[in-house]
Each structure stands twice: as structure tokens, then as C-alpha cells.
Amino acid sequence: MTQFVQFLGRGRSGAKSCERPGPLALHPLARAAFAETGKPLSPAQVSGSQRFLLGGLSAPITVTWEITAACNLRCVHCLSSSGKRRPRELTTDQALALVDELAEMQVFQIHFGGGEPFLYPGIWRVLERCRERDLVMCVSTNGTLITSERARRLAALEPIYFQVSLDGATPETNDRIRGQGAFQRALRGLERLAAANLSLTVNSVLTRYSFPELDRLYAIARNFNAKLRVTRLRPSGRGRAVWAELHPTREQYRDFVAWLREHPDVLTADSFFHLNAFGERLAGLDMCGAATATCCICPEGEVYPCAFFQAPEFEAGNLHEQSFREIWQRSPVFAFYRQMGAGACSGCLRYDLCHGGCPATKWFVLQSLQGRDPECVLADSPTHPLAAKQETPYGAITAAVRCSSVTSQDGACQEEA
């Protein structure tokens, strides 16, 4: 059964789905940005799991699906500037057809976010369809709408995982980001999910204000039998306006790496792989998976390389015009993204650990993909002099460094049989 999400009717109709779009379909800003990064990496230049991703996979491993922009909170750093429902959000029937298509493509996992997913009118039918189609679900929620009855109903949908957001271990720290009363309401949601024995993670964006509260966040998570997952603040959505004020200091990052070593059960997924450049690879995926291992579907059907890369010039396609499969396989944005060069990081001997950092962060801070990650941990190091200088809204960013030795650790199973 193959059901494409192909519901025309949007303003931009007329896309010829069977033709492979040429590079000319790229937005000029995106084209220039990709070109600046230089030659694509050769297989010899990459190691670990990254070399399997070079040419792109047949389908994503995980799809992040921001199913609605509706949200009952107004977090100051919201990556998708959520608040109100948007006019062209996918209908439930369209969403169900999309689940079927993702299942046909053998996507392994769908990560629902928003907005607040529980404000999407068809959320239960969509989750149940995922269950029927054997797709693993992860739901990121602010936790405030979880009732005991909902928690029990969710328990019937296993395997399903929940990430409940807490951006501080105290009402003061959390609520300055997530709004008055959000802390207590999230704790109640956690309590109810935990009572239903659901698999839980407390998801916390690291800011310079939450950093001193990491131990207490860890204790809160343990209290609910949950894991703690610390993620990186990115300057996308409303996060652009607060990034300079909230992002952790270099010293905090260094201490954070030490803290992670003392707390090996804390999850970071891929979000902190630029910190690997301190010299030691952190656990978890170790590279940018955008457009290769993952991508993001937004409420109105827009598809982007990842949830943090929601810039119109990098829109890979729209589900109102093309099937997801077509976008994944033929979008010029994805094709170019998969061939990005190392740009200013090409001389860095820690490239193998850091991969130049997060492209989305680069784009939103530098308006460039070729520079170093704005939070490059080597940026101020006297042993790594500037080879080129890039002025950014946040000061000078150095480029083309030589660092100490590279370690290589292969996270993939590669048996030749």
C-alpha cells in the first residue's frame, strides 16, 4: 500500500513531481552558501558513521514532525516560533497518509514536536496509525496538557517515548524561559506519565542560567525514573533573539564536558558534537544528521534539513506539492546539503571529531555555512591563530586552524562477511 501525501491546492501548484529538479531550483542564498563551503568531502576525509551518510540514505532514520504550531506556552527560545495554529496545517487525513508513506519508506522513528503536539486535533489517530504501522514514536511535549487519563491511553501505544521540557531546575530559571507557572505544570505532567510507567526523558536546553542547575535537573529526572537529556540552544525561531544572551559561556561548556563525563547516563544525542573538539568524543551520534539521517516536517507541510534549520531559503519542498519520498530523493537542497564541504574548517585536525559544528547555528548567526561553528571551542585558542577572519554579529570567528591529534572511533558495525 503506497499512499503519497500529494494534496495539491496550495498557491504554489504545478511542481512536476516526476522531474528531478536541477540546481537552478535552489534559492540563490542557499546556492551561494553551499558553494562557499568548497569541495564535497571525499570518503577518505570522513570516518565513523559519517561515511555511511555521505551519499544520503534511502530514507531518514528519524523524522522530526512538528505537527502543529499551536502551543499554550510562549517559550522565548522556541525554535519554530510556535503559538497559533497555522492556516495550512496538514489535515488529519493528510497526516495519516504521511504516516503510511513514512512506513512504506521504512523510516524507523517519528519524533513528534510542535508547538504542543497534544493541541493537534488528530493527534490520537496519528499516534495510533504509527503504532499500527510499527513506527517507533517519540513525543516532545511541554507536559502541561497531560492528564492521568491521557497518560494511561498513551501507555497502550508502546513503544512510545516522551520528552518533557524543563529548562531549569527551579521555577525562576525555567519560567523565565517557558513562562509563568510552566515549571509546576510540567512536573505534574511528568508525574502522570511516570505513574503510567511510560518511558520518559526530561529534555533541557542548556543556557548560561540553567548550567548551574544541572545537578538538580539530574535529580528531578531521577525522581521520575526518567533520563536527563541536555540539548543545545540554537539561534533559530525565537531563539535568534535570545541566543546571544542565553547561550552558555566557553567556560561553562568546558565544565559541562567534565560534568557529562561524570554523568555518563545523561543523553545529549548529537547536539553537542562540536564539543568533541575539546579532545574527547562524547557519547551519542557524533555528526550532523540533517538531510542524511533526519529531516523535519513542519506544520504546513514544509520540509527542512532539520528542526533547527527552518530558514525559507533551505526549504527542501512542501508536502502540499510533492510526496515526502520525492522531496527526500530529489530536493536540490538535500542534494547540496549532502555534499557540503568543510569550508573554513578544512584545515582543522579536529574536524574528524567536530565536523565543523552545527550548520543551522552557523547559518543563523553568520549567514554562512562555510565558517566555523560560532561556538567553536578552539576559537580563542592562542595555538590556533587566525588564518582568515570572519566578522559576525558576535565578534570575530577564526578559521582554518591546526589542532592536536585526531582520534577516530568507529561507532558502526562493519563486518565483512
Binding site: 524507523f108 543523553l267 544525542a269 551520534l285 558495525c413 563486518e415 565483512e416
Partner: protein, 104 residues
């Protein structure tokens, strides 16, 4: 179904929750939860991926039987068993001791 023991008296079984997807370089194994929990591995051996798929589809996940019935060369068998040991270590495959060999 006939359950065949590995020569050492063990048999390898693919865990039912493991998902397998073919890719141009070989395939991907995924077990619930990806980066947060569970496991994800890239495998650059098509023959190993095919063996896993055959074991699931035709031998109810019994990898030892799949190898014994579908692989003739001793060297290939040995390589596959080595690969399976790695998959055991990564949590995709279980080793079961076989006390009696049954044939139905």
C-alpha cells in the same frame, strides 16, 4: 520448523524488535529509540544484511539455521558467525544455549 544448533551448542537469534533496512552500502539495524535509547548500526556487508533478512523472513529469526541451510563455504560461515558475535555485543542478536535439538 527445525531448529539447528550452532556447532558449539548455541544458536543465534535475531531479536524481534530489531528493524533492518537495506541501503546501497549494506544496511542499517535499528532497535527502539535511536540516539536516546536502544541502538543504531550501519553495516557495510550486504551478505550479512541479507542473512538477517532471510533469517527473519524464513527462519523465524533463527540465524544459526539460516547460516547452516543457506551458506555453503566454511570460510563464509566463520565470517558470519564472527559478525553475529559483534551483533550480540551490540544488542541485536541473542545467543541461546541449545540443550536438546528438536526436529518436528
Amino acid at each position: 520448523m527445525t531448529m539447528t544448533a550452532h556447532p558449539a551448542g548455541y544458536r543465534y537469534r535475531l531479536l524481534p524488535e530489531v528493524k533492518i533496512r537495506r541501503e546501497a552500502f549494506g544496511g542499517i539495524l535499528y532497535k527502539y529509540g535511536c540516539a536516546d535509547r536502544g541502538a543504531l548500526s550501519f553495516i557495510n556487508s550486504r551478505s550479512l544484511v541479507e542473512l538477517l533478512l532471510i533469517a527473519r523472513e524464513q527462519f523465524a529469526g533463527d540465524l544459526s539455521t539460516a547460516i547452516e541451510e543457506r551458506v555453503s563455504s566454511a570460510a563464509s560461515k566463520a565470517r558470519l558467525y564472527t559478525a553475529l558475535d559483534e551483533l550480540v555485543r551490540r544488542g541485536y542478536v541473542a545467543i541461546e544455549a541449545v540443550t536438546t535439538t528438536t526436529a518436528e
